[in-house]
Symmetry: D2
Subunit: 142 residues, 4 copies
């Protein structure tokens, strides 16, 4: 499967008084790119969370800020599943400024799978094996 | 009942590259002050939304920006219910910079009452008469 | 000039515990659509704010919430300049859910023009006549 | 010096459709607690950024989500400087739900010092030795 990176233009409301995108917004961009990734692989997160009441909870976030992004610049976000076990998944992100290609951000998010109806963590492999297999086939050990 | 205004310090992440608080954040501050108001009158919004599955939906927001607020400044927010009918309520807000007293914002939000379980608007007067009476007694016709 | 509406997908982080997009985020979407509009007419806001140190400040926002938007839905945002004077401009917005076409939001923002270097409001007609003329030609009296 | 933890009430607009505070907001809370910490030690961040044009840039953020926080709950945030060199600083955070005392979050942010006027990283020890000494005296090696 040919996956496309996610393009995101930095918005004015995402800047802070330093004149660059505030660091918290990259967490939003990670989520947007992750959601786009799931859409591309054919299992939209909407389907996961709305039809199956299954949420991708967060356990860890680890990020490196490597360059500032300014209002109006576009970042290209590359996403990959880099670790997977029945009940846990690591997603990695690499963001570059589109025009110059300069890297501006690297990060990863570690997820668990949360059954909202029964209010408890579950094994994705058991509750949604179709999605688990999709992730498994795409997983690129870091 | 003696109601106290709500104090809110402007945060760094709320500024934009103009060097002042971004205009969208005042909508958050209106909500914070409205929530604080409900706590003060003895019917916390948590109780409304969690125990009764009743949300205060929004139909209108009208605001005037009258002065800029900078990082580290504190605003004093005065809240009042200024119109009330069985199914609708208007809340008004007046914000001043705490140190100088200069007015920086005036606004109002118009609300309907939304029953999340049955997914429909309801009359507050009918479903939560206790809260309706509280608002009624406090209502200051604008 | 043929202007295209702006498409915006509702993100997960924009929802609140009511299960719909939180009302403050529409203010962000208004800004995104306004920025896109300026790019389409050939005078990007980046150029305005970065090259000319000219910001579009806000004096008023008036909005009507007419329907809820859920995570994953796309809204189509139509933007128009609906009033213009040398020192002030009104921009109007109409948002529909893309799939159903149902209207979900109407709003307007009133702007002044702020010279960041001299820290004062200015007349756009005088300081950036090129941009003023662009807006003038597009202005659709409401 | 007796430093007090920072108390923060979770707001409605900070929740997402999972019914809990969205994970990106903890990054805001880290910042709020860091700003409060600097105020308590007698060198407010406002003074740093406004008088000295010195910003605390970010290089890394590493966080662990250990429990969900719901609307209306208050978190107690403990802050400590846990590493310091002339040009870099690590700040650590520990958040507990105030009522139960249950831990909900641990994190750290790594900072560099950015001179906005000359647009370059600088050594805090050289440009603001007064602040450097304050941090040095408080630094609790992790």
């Amino acid at each position: 499967m040919e996956l496309k990176p996610y393009y995101r233009k930095a918005q004015f409301y995402e800047t802070d008084q330093m004149g660059v995108v505030h660091h918290a917004n990259y967490i939003h961009w990670m989520e947007e790119a992750r959601v786009d990734y799931m859409q591309q692989i054919g299992f939209p997160y909407e389907r996961c969370t709305m039809e199956h009441s299954l949420d991708l909870g967060l356990t860890d976030i680890n990020v490196l800020y490597r360059g500032m992004v300014r209002f109006g610049q576009t970042v290209v976000i590359h996403v990959a599943v880099t670790a997977l076990s029945p009940a846990r998944m690591t997603v990695s992100y690499r963001m570059c400024e589109a025009e110059s290609g300069a890297i501006c951000f690297e990060g990863e998010s570690v997820h668990f799978f949360y059954d909202r109806v029964h209010d408890k963590p579950v094994a994705l492999k058991r509750v949604l094996p179709e999605l688990y297999t999709l992730f498994e086939n795409l997983c690129q050990k870091g």
